[in-house]
Amino acid sequence: MADEVIYKHVNAESKHTVDFTDELPDDSSISGASTVTAVDSGDTAASSVVGTVSQSGMSLSAILQAGTDGEDYLVTFTGRGTTTSRDAIKTVEMRVRNKTGVI
């Protein structure tokens, strides 16, 4: 299951940040090889919902954007430790809904 669930409007763009401090205790930063990818509910790659990706220390950030109303996207943040080259993964389920209310 996803580590986190977020709802967003199709037209909304938000910066989402994941911290890997607990998962990569032997690293002090994550490298540029860290990635953010997304698939839709049919497990098809959906790169268009991931905008600019950046790293800072142990945090990996991505702009989550666009999408199709009614779709659920599984966004995978993969942080690679600069020292250990170990990969840690956290997932965010992004549900794109134009008419959803508060949870």
């Binding site: 509910s41 049919g42 779709e71």
Partner: protein, 237 residues
């Protein structure tokens, strides 16, 4: 409704983030299986056809795999009818199916008899033809297949999602209440609602079956001399 909308309705019962999506996928898959398991034979959206060619001297064919000229129908549920014709013919002939068992059929035909098959036996996942085909006859089978939920939230072409979404919702809630929340009283409540939906589906499917019924008249007579089979005895034509 779209599958994504159905998921949202199910989620709403347990809190929007209270129930993981993969669990909802399991629940909806269970709901569909539950609905289709309770069909007698199958519902109209489960209808399918398959054409294939027999192989000379090959008597048995896997239904669910493609191994050894198999039919490769992994979701096969039940047969409705089978027809056969010579590859140069334009007229289909009836193949008797579902009337005798394999053990009965083996006493009706010799182990070496070859001609155009007149009898098909479905035994577990194997289709066996009697007599053994002596040429690459064309076959066509009308059957029911188990179906699966659309993979995408936004797919639009699924009959169960479109016409009977409530059945999927109630079925998923039965699964969720029982298997995930361990609340049998709540599961019973949704099961009662699911039964109502099943009755509606059953009634509608019966109406469709009656209206869409295809009557096929097998060619027979002096130009099609071959043995036919009826229940319990052999008929020589």
């Amino acid at each position: 409704m779209l599958l994504g909308e159905i998921k949202d309705v199910v989620r709403q019962q347990f809190g929007k983030i209270g129930w993981p999506t993969n669990m909802i996928d399991f629940a909806l898959a269970s709901a569909r299986r539950d609905i289709e398991k309770n069909s007698e034979g199958g519902y109209y959206w489960m209808r399918a056809t398959k054409t294939w060619n027999a192989v000379a001297t090959q008597q048995s064919y896997s239904i669910t795999t493609s191994a050894s000229n198999g039919l490769n129908l992994p979701n096969f549920k039940d047969v409705r009818a089978i027809r056969v014709k010579e590859s140069t013919s334009t007229i289909w002939s009836d193949v008797s199916v579902g009337e005798v068992t394999l053990e009965e059929a083996e006493t009706m035909y010799s182990t070496t008899e070859t001609t155009m098959p007149a009898l098909a036996i479905i035994d577990n996942t194997t289709l066996t033809l009697f007599p053994i085909p002596d040429a690459a006859y064309n076959f066509k089978m009308w059957h029911y297949e188990w179906t699966t939920n659309p993979t995408s939230n936004t797919a639009t072409a699924d009959e169960l999602c479109t016409r009977f979404p409530e059945a999927l919702i109630y079925g998923a809630l039965v699964w969720g209440a029982d298997q995930y929340n361990h609340d049998s009283q709540e599961a019973d409540r949704w099961a009662a609602k699911l039964r109502e939906q099943r009755a509606l589906i059953h009634r509608h499917s019966l109406e469709r079956e009656r209206q869409d019924r295809i009557t096929l008249y097998p060619m027979s007579g002096p130009y099609d001399g071959r043995r036919r089979t009826s229940m319990g005895r052999q008929v020589w034509v």
